[in-house]
């Protein structure tokens, strides 16, 4: 089971780009990397998922190097509403009953005015 390591917290300012890196040295061949965002008093919300190279959607980009032992979530031009906890998960969602989605400690991002 691949474990993940993220910085505990990060600070940024409105309008800046924020990059949060997740280490997953034991990632398996079939594992995908998925990032979630959680606001206080809410359940986590899916942000982005990738397997290799780069994935971009309307809210974020995900950069995955060739060795896949780490990944970086990039949030362009953050606003105050991006203040949240960000979690990186590694696993194979198509593994059926053997898929055990385990959350790490997450990164608490605080965006300042």
């Amino acid at each position: 089971l691949a474990k993940t390591t993220q910085p505990i917290s990060m600070d940024s300012y409105e309008g800046q780009e924020v990059n949060i890196t997740c280490s997953h040295n034991n990632i398996a061949t079939n594992d995908y990397i998925t990032w979630y965002q959680q606001f206080p008093s809410q359940g986590p919300r899916f942000i982005i998922q990738g397997y290799k190279t780069k994935v971009t959607n309307e809210v974020a980009s995900l950069f995955i190097p060739a060795d896949r032992k780490s990944s970086t979530l990039s949030l362009p031009r953050v606003s105050l509403s991006d203040t949240a906890v960000y979690y990186c998960l590694v696993g194979d969602p198509w593994a059926g009953g053997s898929y055990i989605p385990t959350f790490g400690r997450g990164t608490s991002l605080i965006v300042h005015p």
Binding site: Y32, T34, Y36, S41, Q42, G43, P44, R45, F46, Q49, Y87, D92, P93, W94, G96, G97, Y99, I100, P101, T102, F103, G104, R105, G106
Partner: protein, 115 residues
């Protein structure tokens, strides 16, 4: 995507009693998960409740304490039995979808306080 509702949203219970939390999904899903989250902490997986098989519990969680039912593809319950103050937490229901992507969707959570 999937929209998940949970009942109750919060409750205050006496120690020694039990509470059943309901999770309703607006679409049929195979994979369902129950998590616990202490304030300011990450999510801890309690069990996986895939339809058609017995729930699988993670280390530190047992069926006698957290019995789970999964009668169909849109509904599940988690019971917190013989509660103690240490069970005070937020309990979250989640479903996993595999098409098109393999993401999870979460319910709003049930905030439980045991006195």
């Amino acid at each position: 995507s999937a929209v998940i509702s949970q009942k109750p949203s919060r409750d205050i219970c006496q120690r020694g009693t039990s509470l059943t939390i309901q999770c309703q999904v607006d679409s049929q899903v195979t994979m369902m998960f129950w998590y616990r989250q202490q304030p300011g902490q990450s999510l801890t997986l309690i069990a996986t409740a895939n339809q058609g098989s017995e729930a699988t519990y993670e280390s530190g969680f047992v069926i006698d304490k957290f019995p789970i039912s999964r009668p169909n593809l849109t509904f599940s319950t988690l019971t917190v039995s013989n509660m103690s103050p240490e069970d005070s937490s937020i309990y979250l229901c989640s479903v996993g979808v595999t098409s098109p992507g393999g993401e999870q969707y979460f319910g709003p959570g049930t905030r439980l306080t045991v006195t």
